[in-house]
Point group: D2
Chain length 348, copies 4
């Protein structure tokens, strides 16, 4: 029986708590929040569960095996570090940390202590992403051409970071998981209109073999859009996460270049076949993710959404932020050297 | 009675011819195409209309007042120049020319000869664009934040240019017309997968006063999307050109920043009111455009989609192409000096 | 402080309980269910709330002011009658009772005892229905022509009644509420394919002044549809309850008959103006409804969804059922005489 | 080379003419219309084609092999009869005739003269209907439960008939073609609001083996809907004719009744699998239909959409009309006796 302590009961914390309470093999031993209002909510919704105002008390408790850090990003590093130093496994909200150096330090610390880190990239556990991953693993799409995601809505939810740090971690983590490859360089553009943080941004990631990815994030859209196009040589996928059913559509469409006769007579032909919407499981992703973490800890195995996966996302966020401030300058993602950058996840 | 000669009877030419035939105040006096197959089609569809294989013959005919150039972009300059030199007004397919220098030369020539140039940015004459223009002119949207267009489908229609030169002229001309402002600089990214031309591209245009525009063009999309979001301080517009009715939706949605209490306590509030889809006229845009050109020639007035409007689009295409080849480098749109660049509208 | 006892903790009961717990001015004093599994669920979800297996115990408790009957329809009459006889107000799930005679008896009993009955037609408290009601009350649509609702999905949720008794109460109650008029006669057709109950049915209700209503209910549809068209002389409404936003659209469309010149030259003209989607409140309808019932009881006022409203729906269900068994025979809705029919809400 | 004469150049006639002109194996030898305005249009659009004002002249011309009757329904019988008597094959607009007796007489006459009749049920030649027919022929859907079509829009196009005679022929002909079975009886309800003809109607058709069909037609809908649900034991189809692509969707959804334990414990389980949208051909249906008629005449074979197919539709229209006037009375479709009814296709 793994004993969980949860730090942070704001927007997302209640979902973590609700799922932990129903989860086999784990026990919720305490919830911490600095805010008196939040603590009052905890008591009303979960009478009987111990409530803390000081995170150190929970982190240092011998009765805790795992600490879930569900707080603003700028607090992740210190809380996760303290938890690891106290011998606790860590489940940490995305994005993992505010910069690459912090992420690397936490990964090293966990390895030294033989502890597990899971970064809460919940989307990786949805039926839709798992189905697309399966299609890609089977090679159904052939060589990949592009990944193009639009994630826009009305909502300036974050006061401490820009739209890239708020919305892009979803797409970056999904993209990394699906493609299984690292991007080489990033270009980002965008603009800041209201509160000093960029509220609209466009990110391009260059991958090897002419794969290109593009992410459109926007806090100022009158309509909510969650659509991703994935183009491959053999098939193409449209994932519309707002569809109740038929979230994932697979198109037997494409272009065949069958020859070239002189400059202006390239022979291309278009393939326009059936569309197929595979049945997608409707389980709650967060529950599946937490159950998987319990399993990983028991088996002493790293989850695929471990600290390193979280680090890759943070590295791309840093690069995107840097490019954004330089109005589209190409920023390479150097993975060989220890990053020394200290980009704060704040206003551009 | 204005006498029109049409050069080029490929994909778009038949639409020009059909509309000219029914148009009051104008007469179709000849159609020219180098291809014997195209000439056979002309004769079948328009018995009685003179057909030419040599464009010079039509251009130099004293019986012609206006030459419509509906040919591939790399031929526009020479044909339009010959027409102007022969004292003919010119209607030329978009994009105007293959580079800025050519466009400037044609504009100067037309001014010397007191002739009119119209560049066929047909979209400007659709009910949807005219309705949005009206909303913007009335100030209904307030200060503009962004213009974000997605124009993707399956189709590598062009052998002589990339997806930017093929699809982006629509968005650039619409954007220029709607905003009434010039962009300052451009960033473009993209990739070439199949035939040596970029088939997917993402263009960002920086405007004064923090306005930002973004255009997503793609020849390799399994689904057709024609959606433009326009975000303003007071209202926001979603234009979906694929909707049969309700192409333009106006949202009374937005964000109000009402104060700031310290760094993490910015007070924002969301406004979520009614949506309104104004009735949009369903006239054929090309017919409206040609009737307007006849009117402009009669009154000896420059159309708003004149050579200069066409030049502005070409300048942005050149800049986007240059940025694309440099993987996102910022390219300034300098309008003060005579451009000397000679960027060909071809492969990247 | 009104004290509520809830009978029935199956599909809908948990929602009643959840909303009662957070509701000002009321207290949940007990939940009853015959099933041991259901009682276990209650204890897990609501530790501390008294649980009963015998409804009589709860109904006769002096500590209870209101009984909520959230059980299968064939049990409503007996439970509601016992509650009323014990001096309790009654909140009863839709449809009110299994036949007209039962409904009339309960209404009389409540009046004698000066107690309130509310029938849980939750939809009447949604933002969408309240907005449409407001439009109709203001006369925005002009004279009404028709009400046409499609309510289909895959799901044979009920074992004790057919699709008419399961799905049509929503439309009938909404229709009655919106139109404020009684239908004169009903025609219903349909078919039984699987378990002895009609699983697809089409109901027509004739109203005075040429208003006509139509309801399409189906348990065997591969897609979920919840769309209602309301046609009026001045304006028309499309209510799509599955839209996240823009549930209600008001069309300035219609037909004007401007004259008649001989039999084949009727002069009609079509009006095709703007569309307008008013902002619709997103409050939880059940919460609004329960708060309203608390208010009604305090003020000793009949709610608009009282026993008589419930009776009207049951009378139409009976008539539809009768017509269905007679393959479309017209059945009049006679409200003048005391009904003596005893139609069971079961298989056709 | 079959020589066609076309009578009627109103709404649909121009499409017949355009397709005949491009069709191999046939020649257009004359077009007739009583209206001077229509004749002027013919001359403008088709210079060189002989134009007639008197249909008899065209019908009796020895230069004509086939007469296409594209006129209002009440004129079909007389024109088609004259054509057959003059030894011409007949292509006649839907609905075939104004009543059953006329249709039977024309069928008999054609058989005596060894001439072909084709009734223009164009929809049967669309890619969508042919694909659904293929699925049904292969047994992909299993035993059929229902056919439910909604065909509504704003438009009172017909002055000489009601909405049933105007819109339902599409659905009735498609249904008959797809199911390959005759309905046994019909119930129809509806209402007349504006010009003396029913403008909204709901038709139920009872088929053998518990198959049921339903058709919703409406001239007063603010939105256009063209959606047909077909429910089968194994699979279900949704055909949305307004979708640009993906018109036909096949759902692997259904209900399995796996046993019955007492009255209230029926064991049903829901199957919710993949959805599949087969590629549907985009040929112009009218061209395919006319080419097929040319082929049938050459081979001296009856088309599947012959006079008898047209008669079946007229018989159902008559029955629906009769039921409509009797407010939903069941009307049997007796095919054994020669019909003597003389229902006019007019106002209800």
């Amino acid at each position: 029986m793994l004993k969980f302590g949860v730090i942070g009961y704001g927007y997302w914390g209640p979902n973590i708590v609700r799922n932990l309470r129903g989860l086999e093999g784990c026990q919720l031993v305490g919830i911490c929040d600095q805010s008196p209002a939040a603590r009052k909510k905890i008591q009303a919704a979960h009478p009987g569960v111990p409530v803390f105002s000081d995170s150190q008390e929970l982190i240092s408790s011998p009765d805790v095996d795992v600490i879930a850090v569900i707080t603003p990003v700028w607090t992740h590093y210190a809380l996760a570090k303290a938890a690891l130093e106290n011998g606790k496994h860590v489940f940490v909200e995305k994005p993992f940390t505010g910069n690459v150096a912090q992420a690397e330090e936490l990964i090293n610390l966990a390895e030294q202590k033989n502890l597990q880190i899971m970064v809460d990239h919940t989307f990786l556990f949805t039926g839709a992403v798992r189905k697309i991953r399966q299609l890609l693993t089977e090679g159904a799409l052939g060589k990949l051409y592009y990944y193009d995601s639009t994630r826009v809505n009305l909502g300036l939810f974050q006061h401490d970071c820009n739209v890239i740090w708020d919305l892009a971690p979803h797409d970056l983590s999904i993209m990394n998981y699906l493609l299984g490859k690292d991007a080489e360089a990033i270009v980002a553009t965008g603009q800041t209109h209201l509160n000093g943080h960029a509220d609209i941004a466009f990110i391009t990631a260059y991958f090897p073999d002419k794969m290109i990815a593009h992410i459109n994030v926007n806090w100022l859209s009158p309509v909510k859009i969650r659509t991703t196009l994935i183009g491959g040589e053999k098939k193409m996928v449209v994932w519309n996460d707002l569809e109740a059913d038929e979230k994932v559509k697979v198109y037997d469409k494409g272009v065949d270049v069958t020859g070239q006769e002189g400059v202006y007579n390239l022979l291309v032909s278009y393939r326009s076949g059936d569309m197929w919407a595979p049945h997608v499981e409707q389980l709650e992703a967060l529950r599946v993710e937490l159950a998987y973490f319990v399993e990983c800890i028991k088996k002493n195995e790293k989850p695929f959404n471990d600290g390193r996966a979280g680090l890759n996302v943070v590295r791309m966020l840093e690069a995107a932020n840097e490019s954004l401030t330089k109005r589209g300058s190409l920023v390479y993602l150097d993975r060989t050297s220890q990053s020394t950058s200290n980009v704060l996840p704040i206003a551009v």
